[in-house]
Structure formats: structure tokens, C-alpha cells
Symmetry: C2
Subunit: 196 residues, 2 copies
């Protein structure tokens, strides 16, 4: 029951293309879709409680038709002040952001916002598990990169250095997560190795 | 910079009254406002990283005017599948819901949804800190109630028992949080006592 009035709505083409960039790979699922599937699987088997946060929206106008659900008639996308995913695993706070790039040789840091980096730094300082999932669509590869490994690249960028992380560096610094059937992007297996 | 186009918008009366029920108390701040202020204060003094999740919205139509921000022209409120607040404190995962009632003698359990209770149970099972903040507007009192203390009342309700928690029980089972200046609803002080 996602809809207050029980009504099913088809998301328009426009909204879909804005919300998730699909069709990047032969497998047909975006990184976001894969992570949502993974998180649902973790929930189903009671392994972890990790959710994607709703898209932040600034609501400006709401219409209340009689006998049916309130309709938001004017709203704007807001920039997220945190990362997109967080939750709980084995008593630990888990927090991450997921990004995919079509670039074959680098991950452009423009994909991440400064307030997200600041949030990630806070999480690490407060002893949470924090990381970035990076998908290289062209290679069909997804990597787990600890936030701590990301910060030096951000620091370099801020101080006039390069504005991206080379793919080869991510292969070295990160952990490759092979695509699977149920836990499609099984990032908890990396957490198991790193923290438990 | 909350608005992608840098434009300030006034939230309409309707949207405001839907989103937060104000003017319940002489102090003029809703529980939600008080918690947001508290969380911001915790962030500012680097004590904890706890945020309210965005309101879940099902986006149906988006309009893209030239040279300005995308406008959501049709969207619906969705029911939240989790609690409203979560984050990290002293290495622990913290998760809670906040509710206020105008009722003077009971807290009606209709204020909470079953999936929220299920979520809270999962959090407790996975060793997170989970609770409910309840404000009795008429008494101008806010209570911290551990999720574990809430579950038996929910169980009773499911099995034909009473559909509310008496105010007097909450005074006994919960912890009163006096309203303060900066950390207006200083729930972390209760966590300190209970878990550290």
C-alpha cells in the first residue's frame, strides 16, 4: 500500500528518467535497483536493516480533492544533505552513497557533493561504517570503497589536484563486488571481512 | 542552498498544516521542530549525527521548464515504511519515531503503524537503540519510551486489548525529557543513562 488512496499510478517517462538512469548495462538494472533488491533481500532474511532514504522534496503546494488522496501539485527536488543509504548491521551503524559512471578510466569526483563528504567524515569520526559503492557501467563492475580511502582524493581535488579517481586506483583501493542473484551487490560480505 | 535554482518559495498554508502540526503549545514549536533543532545542535557541537528522513513522496509527473529547476507537478504522499529519525551516536545506531497527542490521559496507538512497529522490532533485534518520543501537548511534556516497553502495548492491542497507553503508564515506563534551550528535547541524555 504505497498510495494513500490505494490507487496505482504509472510513473511518467520523465520522472523515471530523472529518478534512476537505467539501461546502462546489458543486465538492465541500475546500481540503485540492484542495491534496493539487495537491501530487500537482507531484510527478508533478517540479516540487516538498511534502507534508501526518500528523495528530498520541497513541497510548495498541495491540493486536497474530495474523497481522494492529497495531490502535491508543486514541489522541487532538494539536494540531499546526507548519503542515500543507512541502517543497522550486527549492531553497527552503516552509511553509504552509491554512484555509477559511464566513464571507463576514471570516477569523476563531481559525482559527490561536499556536504556528503562532510557527512561521511562525521560518520567515520563517530565510529560508523561508511563507504561508497562505485559502478563502472562500461566494465559492469561494482566496487566498495571505504570512506577513509576516498577522503585523500577529495582533499587533493580541493587543493588544486585531480578531480577524479583513476579506475586503476579503485581496483587497488576498493573491493570488487561480483554481481549475484539475490544479494545482487553483496556489500555486507565486504563489511564482514573488514570489520568483523 | 535548498533550492536547485536558488529561488526561495513560500510553503503554502495547506502544505504547512499537512507537514507539521504547529501552534499546539504556548511555546509555539511542534515536537518535530524541537527535534530538528535538537538534532542540528547535536550536529553543530559534533555530539551525534542524527537526521530526519525526508517525507516519502511518489513522484508521478515532472515538468522541465527551460533554464530553471525541474518542477514536480504531480506527486502523492506515501506511507513511511520505517521511523522518521535515525543516525549515529557514540558508535551506536539510533532510531526513533516522534508523536504528539492532544489527548490528556492516553496516547492512542493509532498514531503508530504496524510496519513501524515491525521496523522497531528489527532494530532492537539487531542491537540498535530504538525508542519513541511522545509529547502530551496539553501537559507540555515529552517522554522517551524505549521500543521494548512499547511492544507489549502493541501486542495487547493486536489481541483485542486496549488501543492506547495511559498517560500514567508512560510517566512510569518512560523518561520525562524537560524542554531546554539548545538541545530542546535532549534525548541523548536519556540514552547516556540507559546504554553507557
Amino acid at each position: 500500500m504505497n498510495y494513500p488512496n490505494g490507487q496505482k499510478k504509472i510513473i511518467s517517462k520523465q520522472a523515471t528518467s530523472w529518478q534512476s538512469k537505467k539501461s546502462f548495462s546489458n543486465r538492465g538494472m541500475s546500481l540503485e535497483d540492484d542495491i534496493n533488491t539487495t537491501n530487500q533481500f537482507y531484510l527478508d532474511i533478517d540479516r540487516a536493516v538498511i534502507h534508501k532514504k526518500p528523495t528530498p522534496v520541497q513541497i510548495v503546494n498541495v491540493h486536497y480533492p474530495r474523497r481522494s488522496a492529497a495531490v502535491i501539485t508543486e514541489a522541487y527536488f532538494k539536494q540531499a544533505s546526507t548519503t542515500d543509504y543507512n541502517g543497522l548491521y550486527r549492531g553497527k551503524y552503516v552509511d553509504f552513497e552509491a554512484k555509477e559512471t559511464k566513464n571507463k578510466t576514471i570516477f569523476p569526483l563531481a559525482n559527490i557533493h561536499e556536504h556528503q563528504i562532510n557527512h561521511m567524515k562525521s560518520i567515520v569520526e563517530h565510529e560508523g561504517i561508511c563507504f561508497l559503492l562505485i559502478r563502472f557501467a562500461a566494465h559492469e563492475e561494482t566496487y566498495y570503497m571505504q570512506a577513509e580511502k576516498l577522503f585523500p582524493y577529495w582533499y587533493d581535488k580541493l587543493h588544486g589536484g585531480r578531480k577524479s579517481i583513476p579506475y586503476e586506483k579503485i581496483k587497488l583501493d576498493g573491493f570488487h563486488i561480483p554481481l549475484q542473484y539475490q544479494a545482487r551487490v553483496d556489500y555486507l560480505s565486504v563489511i564482514d571481512k573488514l570489520y568483523f
